[in-house]
Subunit: 410 residues, 2 copies
Amino acid sequence: MNIAVAQSGGPTSAINASLAGVFSAGKISEKIDKIYGALNGIEGIINERFVDLSDKIKDNNTIELLLRTPSAVLGSCRRKLPDVHENGEIYDRITDVLRRKDIHTFFYIGGNDSMDTVAKYSAYLNEKNISDISVIGIPKTIDNDLCGTDHSPGFGSAAKYVCSTVQEITRDSNVYSVPSVTVIEAMGRHAGWLAASSCCIRANGETAPHLIYLPETAFSIERFLSDVKNEMKKHKAVIVVVSEGVRTAEGKFAAEEFQSGLKDTFGHSYLSGIGKFLEKLVASDIGCKVRSIELNVMQRCSSHIASADDIISAEKIGAAAVEAALSGKSGCMMTFIRGSDSPYRYSIGTIPASEAANSEKLFPTEWISPDGNDVLPEALDYFLPLIQGEITPVMKNGIPVHMTIDFGIK
Amino acid sequence: MNIAVAQSGGPTSAINASLAGVFSAGKISEKIDKIYGALNGIEGIINERFVDLSDKIKDNNTIELLLRTPSAVLGSCRRKLPDVHENGEIYDRITDVLRRKDIHTFFYIGGNDSMDTVAKYSAYLNEKNISDISVIGIPKTIDNDLCGTDHSPGFGSAAKYVCSTVQEITRDSNVYSVPSVTVIEAMGRHAGWLAASSCCIRANGETAPHLIYLPETAFSIERFLSDVKNEMKKHKAVIVVVSEGVRTAEGKFAAEEFQSGLKDTFGHSYLSGIGKFLEKLVASDIGCKVRSIELNVMQRCSSHIASADDIISAEKIGAAAVEAALSGKSGCMMTFIRGSDSPYRYSIGTIPASEAANSEKLFPTEWISPDGNDVLPEALDYFLPLIQGEITPVMKNGIPVHMTIDFGIK
């Protein structure tokens, strides 16, 4: 029998490691013949666009490169499938394609929407009494907002980048003798895990970040300005880390709420991110030296500073998914179960994919300071194991080497 | 006799390596007793704020951390000194302070403005017939725009970060099946070296960046849009790298020229950087998926991916400055002289600091494509040696360890 694997949603530094795990475990199993990679997520199944991964991964060196390549070598998509009772044809189509290629398990590496696809296709297979095809979800998101798992592959590497970079920016901010404020914007539309993870630099003796704002508590301009003024009394260079998704008490995105009616050069309504907005706010209200820095996609693609724990466990959870399929599981998402923080121990389990689909695991409010402008030390115990270890890039010409797959067509 | 060293201008990943070079060479010289670090550049001399570096650097491990710490451990300043004939008092003050501490050479690590200080103080010393005090400049700038030297310490590490990150963003941009444009903004107000250095990723087989725009050639919106449309015919994900300082044919900064009369939420005139502006332009004119990414201060402080060639040669040029002082030199800036590209060979020399002060070394127009939207392969030969080698961070708790100096007062 053959298996297929696809990648979906926003890229991370670890999604290729999970692919490598599926491939390696599939390769050593006597029950599995071909391991197909579907291109651009579920679209690759629907449009019957596959690569035979054995043609692309011929040796261990390629596996090593795959572990060190950010983004998704098989391409990605953002397609959410319809409800099976609204449109069952797409599921018939998927089943036809899988049957035609003798594919008995489909592994889908992705976030919320991908787990929705796993849950829906699994429900379809049950309804149709199809027992020779299974579908298994492998978690992936830098936002760390998937329910039912201790954490998600991709998050640890993103957090390690955020920590290292916030620490380097802290150094950069401390060179001048004039007081200054630096606002660093981290990803996280709904969950503040990434911004919160910047607290890890305190384990190395930093006082920064001095303020951390997450979407999980209401954001107020007045409180923010008063917090900043307060921190300026204590620190020459105040470092603020803010989630892109911080919201007002009314639940609106703060970056949007406070900038209405502006038009840009092209006559479109103009919205800067929360970092740039807070920069302008501080300049206007406090009048000190201020700058904002958006960590942007570097958070999810800076594999040159990936967390070894993240990459290695992403590979393991991919391999564990193959074992789960061989043992008869379907319709589930693989999960990490934490045994202890220190020493860090975890095991791998499964939950029904429907429990992870369409829900979000928020940063625990009990780990947020009562003032809503910082995170508590408990958070550090949770984060630290996830950013440990380095996975040295393979360098050529002074630049990391990546693995790429030629899709043949554009 | 004692010596003093200070750091000035914008931080880099290599300015502490040059400090380490001065310290180590000073330490082994029998002629030198104390090695003072002046805090916040020339202000530290004027305000008599020194640290005895032997108190702060007690072992080789600290030197190793110093080599791996971005920014300037002694702090920096942006103070330009007046002409000696307009205000000689400041130079008298500097001389008094140096004499009081028995300091016979002052090493100033910095860029254009710092070399201006070196040149002016040297002229003052000559005019006053003071021969027992010398002053020597050590180059530093991520912009690589210092004249009289093959390149400047700090540039190689910034270029290595730019290359690695542009390559990672290229991976990230290629995951979706829809056509897209990604505009990456690199530092460089006047000289395009950093943006141009992104061409190095082609040495590893990348076709990106597909377009590179530098301040050295006139920027036109019409040409830009036509270039992008052209590249979209060839590549699904078009990668554009642009210097922050690109200018119109009239010599005005393009980012400012094209955005007039806009007011932000606070009633101030609003100016986004060139990257964000080009993003809005592409969205408005072409209407495809488009995003912009500002590499921001990460270019100058990401020491976790520093170039070993940059860090080691920055240390060497610092040590060579001490030797130059001991051999009687003064009023000069240390320089790198390239022997050959491949194998890469260089030596260290000196030029009068006045030749480096207040002038800018631009990216050679003969290395720019006739269309003004790319750089030629000759540039690659120049850049590649400067980004070679890695200097692995010392890690603790999964985050690089930095060295810091407590200034005692805020």
